[in-house]
Every structure is written in C-alpha cells, then in structure tokens.
Amino acid sequence: MGKEISLYVHIPFCDHKCIYCDFYSIITQENRNSYISALEKEIHYVKSLLAVQRKISTIFFGGGTPSLMGPKFIGEILNYIHKNFNVTESAEITLETNPGTVTKEDFKEFKNLGINRISIGVQSFHDKDLKFLTRIHDRQTAINSIRQAAESGFENVNLDLIFNLPGQTKKEWIENLKTAVSLPVKHISAYSLILERGTILNKLVLDGKVKIGDDDYDADLYETTIDFLTQSGFRQYEVSNFCKEGYECKHNLAYWDHREYVGLGPSAHSFLQGKRWWNFSSLKMYIDKIEKSGNAVRGEEKLSGNEMLEEFVMLALRSKGLNLNVFKSKFGNSWLEKKKKILDELKSGGMIYFTGDFIKLTKKGYSLCDEILLKII
C-alpha cells in the first residue's frame, strides 16, 4: 500500500565498548566491506518484501557509532538506499554521532549527503561522569561538537543525556540540563540510567562496587527534568524525549505510533504487516546468514489482534497519548468500555487525563508509566 515507512540502519562499529552499553557493537572495522556488501543484499531482500509504492519517510543511522565510519561509508549506504527505494523529498534522515568522532568537515559532508538531523551522544557535561562511563570525550569536546554541527548547517540537533549516574548530585544534573538548553539544540533525550544485563556497569552495581540512587531519587531527578525542560521551552512528547515545537523525531514517532518500519543490519528489528522480525546480532552471523539465504532473520513473530492492541496502547501512552479515535477505528469500542472503570480510577489518582480525543499521562503518570500499563493492559 502507499503508506510511508521508516528505515533503520544499524551500524555496529564502535571505537570501544562503554561500560553501560548493551547495544550490539564491535570495535574492529575489519568487516566493514563484507558488512556493506551484506547490507546491500539485505536491501534487496527488503525491497522484495515491499510494494513498489511504499515511500520511505525517515531514515535513522544508529549504532554503534555510525559517525565513526566517516561520510564516505554512510554515503555509500545512502546511495544504495536511494537507488532501491523511493525516499520522500522531506524525509528525516538522522545520524547518531559521538563527540570526538566527527570533525567540522565531516559534519559538512554529512549535510551534503542529505542527512538533516544529528543526534549527539553527550551523556553528561561533567568530566568525572564521562570518565566513569568510559566515554572518549570530555565536556569541551561535547560542546564543540554541538556547535560544529550547528555551524555546519544542522538545525535539527538532538543530544542524549543520562541521569542518576553513580555519584551524580541533583545539582550536577541540573547543570547538565542548563548547559544543554544553552546550546543550539532542538531536541533532548534525557534517559534514566538503565542497568542492562551483561554490561560491566551492571556487574559493578550487582557486586556492590558502584551505587546508584534508589527509585525515589531517580523519580526526583526525572520530575526535575520534566519541570526544567518544560520551563525552558521544550515539550515532553515521550517518557524520555523533549523537543522544541515541531522538532519531534519523526523516526521515533513512527515506532510510537505503531507504524511500520524496516531495520537493516545486525540486531535490527522490522515491523511490517503485523509481523515483527529481528536479525542476528553478531556481525559474523548476520553476514553469514545473508550470504547463505539473502536475509539475516533470526526470529519473527506474528502479532495477534490482542498483541497489536497492547503494543498500540503501550507505545501511545509512553509518548503523545492514546488517540481514542484512531484506537477505535483500529480496535473498536469494546476494549475501552471494559477499561472504563480502571481509567476513571487512574484519572482520579492523577495518573492520566483526558484532553480532546486523547488520553495522556500526567507528570506523575510518566514516572509510573509501566505500572499504569500493567493495570490497563
């Protein structure tokens, strides 16, 4: 059908592995050529799945550290995408970068390739935090990177920050937010630190070698974040995402609106026609599987009607709210009627509110989003 879809490209290469990161990445670039050629084959595979009319409205280069690979590498992939798909004129094309991996020249070249949104993995503006997280950059490099992106013509810049880092005081976190809003950025992703299984940080915490703030402290920082960014002209449109008016990340909105997307590269997920599938994570397996069978699918699931509904509600509530009209047109009325009592309770408990055709989470509701979902779903 003619609906637009989103495209995610996973670039699994990193300079090194940070202690908190659980994304699939490898630190050597030996496989870059076989990766590119596998990616091209995968593009062919995806093309065979899509009807001709499908246009691509967003592209997101995530990682890993896509910027590490340089403009030429990204350009090659983009070229191949353009050759095989119909990318809309106004498509949002995002590149994830890490400070210290991109020069001003690089930014310019990325811009020339058609990339129009830059996401910068700053994480903190305090050197002690950056050291702890084993990032390669420091405060100044981060600030320079943001300025260079802006000076290179990127108007749509995001930066990632993490709160409730070990030893981080509330004052230090607020300083991070202050620095962020003083820079030329339109979008801020502020994440509570997630202890992912298998990461060094998780082990340090489990072993008691590193302490992180408890849930109450985390909630305190989170609510402070919402208040601060809202007062600084940013709008919260998802649990961890804030932007200036009109600068929502379209690519991520596609996920949260439960729209279709296709993921390329190791560990990437796709969602098409009620089916979700995911690729092998290891680069070697990814390449081998593509060489053998033209795709890298490791597993898939066909979503039941109920699973579709659950995901729709879960994603909508996390982000801009549940659009009742859209919901009813997709799933009918009966579910909402069944949930009326619990929704009313949540409303009187100050967790959600009704506005127009939407059910939205309050500030308290965002903090307890998963708890609310457990009650509703």
Partner: protein
C-alpha cells in the same frame, strides 16, 4: 485361639520401633533379610522422610516356640504422633499386649509415657524393651530404673536388645508368647469386629483392618457397620502377611482385613464395630468416637482458576483420610477455597504436603486456628472455626477455647527455660515428677491454640533437642480472647484475621503489620497497614507510594521485549490477591505463618 498373640509396639519417635518390627519380621521368616529394608511398615514416602508412622498397619508372623508349638503373632503398628492418639488407642484396643521400646541412650520420653498410659488404660500386658544397647552412649541402668519407676515392673522383666545388631529377638518373641495372654472371645457369639485402621485402594475401595472379638466373619456375609448402620457384603476376607492373604474367614481373636466394595473410608471408620446384618451383636465394642478435628485452616488455590482441581484433589485425599474434613469457603482476599479441619498440626502439614506433591496443587494456606465457643449476650452459643466468622465485639459475652494437658520430659538443667516458654504460651503449671535425678516430667495445661503453632520447634531449640512433649485434650475453658483484624487502606483482609489472647494482640499486630510492609510491594498510592481490635487500631505502619516504574527507552528493537515483559508481569500480577485497591503477593499470606509468636 490360644495360639494367637496380638500386640503393638509403643515407643517415642526414633527409639527404634520400626527396626524392632523389622527384626521380628525377619527372624520369624515373614520377610527375608533382603526385604527388611529399613522401616518396612512405613510405606508412605512422607512417613519414611519424617521417620514417623502416620497410618497404622498390621502384619501376621508365625513363630514356633521353644515347646514346639506354632503361634500366630499379629503385630499391629500404631501411628507415632500425638495428632493420631485416638487411632493409637484403637490399635491398642485390638491387642492384648504391647512392647514398650525405650532407647538406651535417650531414656523415657514424653511420648513413651503417654503411650504407656494409653496401653495401661487399654489393659495391655506391657513388655519393656531397652533398644540400642550397643550404643556407646547407652545408659542401660538409668533407663532400667526409669522404666521400673514408670510401669512398676521387675528388673528381670526388662529385655535388653539391639534391633540393629539383631540382639534380643528370642527373648522378645518368647516374652510375647509367655507373657501376653491369648485373646479371649467366643466364636459362637454374634460377630463383633473392631476396625483399627482402614485404607483406600483405588481398585478395591476401602479396606478395613479388623480385630475379631467375637463370632466368625466369612466371605459373602452381609455385614453391618454400627456407626452408620450401612450394610455391605464381605467380598474378601483374609489375613495380613506381606501381602493380603485370602482366608475366607476370620474367627474370634484373629486380626485381618475385609473388603466389601465400599467406596469411601468414611464408611469404615476407625473404632467402629462390624457385625452381621442378620443376627448381629446388639452392642458395638466400646470406645468408638467420632473423630473431631482440632485444628482448622483455609486452603486456597494459588491461582483462582484451579479451584475445581483443588476440590478434586482434596476429595481424592479424603478417600484415604477420613479424619480430613472440608467445606467450601470464600475469602474476600483469597477468593474461593476450603476450610479444612485436621487432627493436629502434623496432620495439617501432611495434607498440605500431599496436596502439593501427589496432586500437584499450588496452595495458599491461612493461619491455623482451633475451634472456639463464643457465647453471645443473648445466650446463643456459636462455634467458630474461622476467625472471619467471629461475631461482633459488642455481641460477645465470653469466649471459650480448647485446653490440653501437656507433658514435657526434659533434663532438669533446661527446666528454667521450659518454664519461661510455658509462661509465654499461657501455660498453667500443674506438677513436676522426676524420672531420675536428672530428668523431670513437667505437666502443664495449655490453650491448644498456643501449642499448635511453633511450640514444638521452640521447645526443641531451647532444650537443644532434649525435651520431648505430648499432650491430650481436656476440655474448653474461658479465656480473654479478641479477634484481631488486619486492614489495608481501611479494608479488612479477612484471611489475615486471627483470634488471639488480649495480652498478645499488640505484639502480634505490630509483627504482622511490619511483615506486610516488608512483603507488599510499593504501589501507585500510599498504603496504610493497620491492625485493629473492633474499631480500635492498635498497630499501624505505611507503605509509601511507588514513585517510579518506567522503562527509559523503547525504540523499534525494544517493543517486542517490552510487550513480553509486560505480559509476564501481568501474569505475575494475576497471582496477586486483591483487597480493595491493594495487591498482595501470596508470599505475604505465607509469611504470616512464619511470624514468631
């Protein structure tokens, strides 16, 4: 009849009752040494694990005495726990004598004493046996003195044995023949057969183990059970060897079994008398009692969908356990379940364990309680076996609870701590007698409710395992009791209500509220946890509201995982019990069972 001897073995737990039995079975050629795997008579897994006999059984041995005469020796085993003292008394009633087995290293214990009294009451000839004389720690002289003191026998009457070393069996077998009188009875009188045990076989139905006192029971006889007057045909009659041996008849004095196509062990009640449907005996044998549960508890399925399956399991279990009673009950907190009555704590634990192990049931149990007599101001008497059914405070005139007479045998050095424990448990001291200069037999009266819970464990721990304990029910007495309710955000959690002595209510309330605070996860709102008597709150604590529960990132690759996680957590929530708007994990109900009084 003069060549029959019917006897039991009485002993404190672990004093070697089963090994003595094995030795006799082996030496009479009833079983081969290879078959004499330890504790042959205990055939339930649980019995072997706990080293106690839950159900009694019987077995027939043949022995040629020194004079060349062949004797039939019927060993009737007795259950080894106070919960089953009625069954013990019925087994003893089927005998003319008993071996009293005492461990040479342990000496006389509480259970030894109480069983001896039961045997003496039943008029049995008692043959004292000191077992385990080969142990380095054996103190044969001391134990001899204790036994002489206990039953007033002569020193020469005491047989020294080691069942493990197969020492003493000849003396025991000879004593059984010489000292225990043959059964009396009359083949020509109307049939009177005592049921001393019954088991359920899924193919044959209820099998009654009986001792014939008068008359003859033959296959195809129409027989009548006195307790409920039901009539059946005796399909099969025989004696109990290692397996059942059909004999076609049982005569006065004999011990054996009868199968009569009976579908339920409730029909073959322990203590009941079987007679003939026509020309039967006018009177049953004395001593029959309806078994009455002493301890009650609510049993609920963990998952409310398993209610029917739990009912099936309990019904099946009941086929083999006539002492178990149950009625459906509903709890606001736990949903649909059953109020079950048990003979005692061990019986309750066995039932719960069998439900879980043999019938794969996941159950939540409520705090066990006894049965209370509540006298209302309007003169009405209400029997309460579930705290939730307690009348309102204002309606109550007074409450009575069951009391027991308890016997504690303990080395004198622990007397002080025993007395302190007894005081904590509202014990009323009666008297002390010394079994020998170092060991005392202390008698107390306790409210049954105080000893059903953790009394035995405490007793063991403060006496380093040396104290032993037995008790018997003596009747109901008035006590200053209150119903203590637990409330979450003002809603009563009926399954956590207890009836407790007023002096203990505050302490209990404090412990339960703080335990619940530990176990109930923080929820979206603050939860007030209160303990109250009537409208008066006596303990209170709060569970602070949960402030954060949200996954920070949820992008394309996270959605499936996140949805599955939610579904899993949702499943977990289903197992939570809901009271008002508060969700309570099942562990909270179970943890209350572990609170130390």
């Amino acid at each position: 009849m003069k060549n029959i001897r019917n006897f039991s073995i009485i002993a404190h737990i672990d004093h070697g009752k089963s090994t003595i039995a094995d030795m006799l079975l082996e030496k009479t050629g009833t079983i081969t040494p290879r078959e004499a795997k330890s504790q042959l008579l205990d055939d339930m897994d649980l019995e072997r694990e706990r080293g106690i006999t839950i159900k009694s059984h019987a077995i027939k041995m043949q022995y040629t005495a020194k004079d060349g005469v062949k004797y039939d020796l019927n060993l009737i085993d007795t259950p080894g726990h106070v919960d089953f003292s009625y069954e013990v008394s019925r087994s003893l009633a089927a005998c003319e004598g008993a071996l009293l087995v005492v461990d040479a290293a342990q000496g006389v214990e509480a259970q030894t004493i109480s069983n001896v009294y039961l045997a003496i009451e039943a008029g049995l000839e008692i043959i004292p046996v000191i077992n385990k004389i080969d142990l380095p720690s054996a103190m044969v002289d001391t134990v001899k003195a204790q036994i002489i003191d206990l039953i007033g026998c002569d020193e020469e009457e005491i047989i020294l044995a080691s069942a493990k070393q197969r020492i003493g069996y000849e003396e025991i077998l000879d004593a059984i023949i010489e000292r225990i009188p043959p059964p009396e009875g009359d083949d020509t009188k109307p049939l009177q057969a005592l049921i001393f045990d019954s088991v359920f076989d899924s193919y044959r139905g209820a099998i009654a183990y009986i001792r014939v006192f008068n008359g003859v029971l033959k296959t195809k006889d129409q027989i009548k059970f006195f307790a409920n007057q039901n009539i059946y045909m005796a399909e099969e009659v025989g004696v109990l060897g290692l397996q059942k041996i059909k004999t076609g008849e049982l005569r006065a004095g004999d011990v054996g079994y009868v199968i009569a196509g009976i579908k339920d062990v409730k029909e073959t009640r322990v203590g009941d008398t079987i007679t003939h449907a026509k020309n039967g005996a006018a009177e049953p044998l004395p001593g029959y009692k309806e078994i009455k549960p002493m301890v009650y508890s609510g049993l609920y399925p963990s998952n409310s969908e398993d209610y029917e399956s739990l009912r099936d399991a309990i019904e099946k279990l009941q086929l083999n356990d006539s002492a178990l009673i149950f009625v459906p009950e509903t709890s606001a907190a736990l949903g649909f379940g059953f109020r079950c009555g048990f003979l005692g704590m061990l019986h309750m634990e066995i039932v719960q364990e069998r439900l879980e192990r043999e019938y794969n049931q996941n159950i939540v149990t409520t705090l066990p309680n006894v049965e209370y007599y509540v006298y209302k101001k309007n003169g009405e008497k209400v029997v309460v076996d579930n705290p939730a059914e307690m009348p309102e405070v204002g309606e109550i005139d007074h409450i009575e609870e069951p009391f027991v007479k308890a016997q504690i045998v303990v080395p004198s050095e622990y007397l002080g701590s025993i007395m302190k424990l007894a005081m904590d448990k509202r014990g009323v001291y009666k008297n002390t007698t010394y079994l020998d200069p170092t060991r005392a037999d202390v008698q107390y009266e306790f409210p049954l409710s105080e000893i059903i819970f953790d009394f035995y464990d405490k007793l063991k721990s403060i006496s380093r395992g040396y104290a032993s304990f037995d008790y018997e029910f003596i009747g109901y007495k008035e006590s200053d009791l209150v119903k203590l309710d637990i409330m979450l955000n003002g809603e009563k959690v009926d399954a956590l209500s207890i009836i407790v002595h007023k002096s203990k209510a505050y302490d209990w309330g404090r412990k339960v509220t703080s335990k619940l605070k530990e176990l109930i996860p923080r929820q979206m709102f603050e939860i007030a946890v209160q303990a109250a008597i009537g409208n008066k709150v006596i303990a209170r604590t709060n569970i602070k509201a949960l402030r954060k529960n949200v996954l920070a990132k949820c992008y394309g690759g996270d959605i499936t995982r996140k949805r599955k996680l939610l579904e899993k957590q949702k499943e977990g929530k289903k197992r939570m019990k809901q009271v008002g708007n508060v969700e309570i994990p099942q562990e909270a109900f179970l943890a209350v069972l572990q609170i130390e009084d």
